[in-house]
């Protein structure tokens, strides 16, 4: 990830924020607007960041994973289900139930990662097909169970969909969160903080540890890695499972951190946007995070523009149509992928099964 690309991303986010500040400054102070947009951006980017990190681990080890969407959706459902069962059926307090739910979400992601590894590493199934299988499986299984468990007559909750026991509480970073106005950025929920920490950890692991070097080597040139005694299959298995667990944590964001309820197809394509963010970030953790923030900023823009709908000047009237604004991140992705901002270079052995 080069500085030019970071500069470009910072530039885009600045533009997105400036539009709202320019329109809304008559009504609300720019500091409040920027703070609130940053808080929204960081929170909305959470599942994208975690999904993109999943992609980084998998693809750096040479396994293409387009099943991130399915992993997140399944994790969102099973995490939510676990939290509900622990809370209502086993009578645990809300907090342990929520933590149990998060653990279950991570486990679900990890298991689907294992499944993907079995398909793509051991059985050498086409990795795109393996990922598609996971996406379809997740939609089917969550939709079916959601219906069977909660909506059918005589189901355990008698046709009433329970909500999970609340959501994960907000955490205020001492001192920073006490700053008036700006402190709101440091008042977020745990998975959001965890995502940022994991970006840093992933960067360190990938580029400064033996594990990271081995991971990258099996993704770049598995034959060479094998000849120096690195177990290619093991490295690929382990990294795909780690990636799955990260996607699982991303899934937990939907049902345990954002809202205490599950909706079929709740992830709404965010797994694929995460994949775009990973490419946008050139397969690096910080790059992927920055790209995820662009998507977050675009959503913050979409929400905030409507607040000041009356103040939008007539020559900018097209901004009143919120899906025009919503297109921004997708258009950006297409521009980035064309290679204007430097070339995107995937790991050399990305997507290729390894034959001993």
């Amino acid at each position: 990830m080069d500085w030019r690309r970071f500069g470009f991303i910072a530039f885009i986010i600045t533009i997105l924020f400036s539009v709202v500040v320019l329109i809304g400054k008559a009504e609300i102070s720019p500091v409040v607007i920027v703070t609130s947009m940053l808080a929204t951006t960081i929170a909305v980017a959470t599942p994208l960041t975690l999904g993109a990190l999943c992609g980084v681990y998998c693809e750096r080890a040479g396994v293409v994973n387009i099943g991130i969407e399915g992993m997140m959706l399944a994790a969102a459902f099973f995490g939510w289900l676990t939290a509900i069962y622990m809370n209502t059926v086993f009578g645990l307090a809300p907090m342990p139930s929520l933590l149990g739910g998060v653990a279950a979400a991570i486990l679900t992601g990890g298991l689907l990662g294992l499944f993907h590894a079995v398909l793509s590493v051991t059985f050498k199934v086409d990795q795109i097909i393996g990922g598609t299988v996971i996406n379809i499986l997740a939609v089917g299984i969550t939709g079916f169970l959601n219906r069977q468990l909660f909506f059918e007559k005589g189901s355990i909750f008698g046709g009433n969909v329970p909500h999970a026991p609340g959501v994960l509480p907000r955490i205020q970073i001492p001192l920073l969160a006490d700053i008036p106005v700006v402190g709101r950025i440091f008042d977020q929920q745990p998975i959001t903080f965890a995502a940022i920490l994991l970006v840093i950890i992933t960067h360190f692991v990938l580029f400064y540890t033996r594990w990271g070097l081995r991971t990258r080597s099996v993704g770049e040139h598995p034959r060479a890695a094998d000849t120096v005694g690195i177990d290619v299959y093991f490295m690929r298995y382990a990294n795909v499972i780690i990636g799955g667990m990260l996607a699982g944590l991303g899934g937990a964001y939907f049902t345990l951190e954002s809202v205490p309820s599950f909706e079929p197809l709740m992830t709404n394509g965010r797994g694929f946007i995460a994949l775009a963010a990973m490419i946008f970030g050139n397969w690096t953790p910080f790059g992927a995070w920055a790209a995820a923030l662009v998507f977050g900023a675009a959503q913050a823009l979409q929400i905030n523009l409507q607040f000041f709908r009356e103040s939008i000047p007539p020559q900018w009237a097209f901004l009143q149509i919120s899906y025009v604004v919503g297109l921004a991140p997708y258009l950006l992705t297409m521009i980035i992928l064309t290679g204007i901002i430097g070339k995107n270079i995937p790991p050399a052995a990305d997507g290729q099964p390894y034959e001993k």
Binding site: A39, G159, P260, I303
Partner: protein, 348 residues
């Protein structure tokens, strides 16, 4: 191995025979059996909002009129017509369809099955609707509500209860007139109390129509963004999207206002901060129309139900007496027509 196949074969045959053993459904084609079928909008029967309140009205018909009742959940907007005709072909007497989005499919079915009475909840009958009713489809009634009045009531309440002078509203898509009327009624009510009040009103105009009512995460994010900017009352209107906003508001300890039904009972996690709800009195409205259908006095065209606001419940002690008095006066004014919301029926 061979025996295993045998066992599987037996089980398969048993599974095939299963439906035959199920209890026989009452025959709706008979004249003396009064059957009411309900088709939900995309969403669940227990959406804690729209489908659920209508279904409660249908179930009252089961209790009070001895009707045979059944519902079908729509999972995809492509299935509206199919679900309606499932009931129609089974000989149901009254078919209730829930939601604006089913309007076209309901009108088409009403023309196709002239002997069945159709109740379109929240479906404004837009064709020329004249005094002698010659242009109405005789067997179709749209059950509508003065959403603008319900929105006006909670808008006035929000404007009286805010301390920061900033209030917010998170809604489904404004392409749906009832949702738009809630939002604009809310605006009008708030401005009726405080003309210069700061209002954040956001409609979820995503590209996918279904999505705008089933996106609680977006609702929560939007409500949080409003609270960041100082809003201290949040009105959430529009299925699960609105529910997300109401829950988010309650979590951050600002006043929340629900929609459609008294959400004190449907969103327990928001109870402690739920100020009121802008209510469409769906249950009595649905029951009333089913009764009229059974008695052979079925009205066609638009049938206007009633709007209202829910009790303050847990926050009763926090609402000053003069606010309560004012709210009663506004409600009375809206009901007798002396107070107008000035919100047009559809977005201009």
């Amino acid at each position: 191995m061979k025996r295993l196949y045998g066992v599987i074969a037996v089980l398969l045959v048993a599974a095939l025979l299963m439906p035959a053993c199920a209890p026989k459904a009452p025959d709706c084609t008979k004249a003396d059996v009064f059957c009411v079928g309900m088709v939900t909008d995309v969403g669940k029967i227990d959406d804690k909002s729209f489908n659920q309140s209508t279904w409660e009205g249908v179930k009252l018909a089961e209790k009070e009129l001895g009707a045979i009742v059944q519902y079908l959940e729509t999972t995809d907007s492509k299935d509206y017509a199919k679900n309606i005709s499932t009931f129609a072909d089974a000989g149901y007497d009254v078919i209730v369809t829930v939601g604006f989005a089913l309007g076209e499919a309901t009108a088409a079915a009403a023309v196709q099955y002239p002997n069945i009475k159709f109740i379109g909840v929240d479906q404004f009958q837009a064709w020329p609707y004249d005094e002698d009713k010659t242009n109405d489809i005789a067997n179709l009634a749209g059950l509508n509500f003065p959403e603008d009045q319900a929105g006006f009531l909670v808008g006035a309440l929000a404007a009286q209860m805010t301390k920061s002078g900033k209030i917010g509203g998170v809604f489904g898509t404004d392409v749906v007139p009832p949702v738009w009327r809630f939002g604009e009624g809310y605006r009008a009510g708030a401005q009726y109390i405080t003309p210069a009040i700061e209002l954040f009103i956001v409609y979820h105009n995503d590209v996918g129509f279904d999505k705008t009512f089933t996106d609680p995460e977006w609702g929560a994010t939007t409500a949080n963004s409003m609270i960041d900017k100082g809003a201290d009352v949040i009105f959430g209107g529009g299925g699960k999207t609105g529910n997300g906003a109401v829950i988010a508001a309650a979590q951050r300890s600002v006043y929340a206002i629900g929609v459609d039904t008294d959400q004190y009972y449907t969103l327990p996690e928001a109870q402690k901060m739920l100020l009121s709800s802008a209510m469409k009195l769906l249950t009595p409205g649905t029951l009333e129309l089913i009764k009229l259908a059974k008695e052979g006095k079925f009205p066609s065209g638009n049938y206007l139900g009633k709007g209202g606001y829910a009790p303050y419940h847990d926050l009763d002690s926090q609402v000053p007496a003069e606010v309560k008095t004012k709210m009663e006066a506004i409600n009375a004014g809206l009901l007798d027509g002396s107070l107008l919301t000035n919100v047009p029926p559809v977005k201009p």
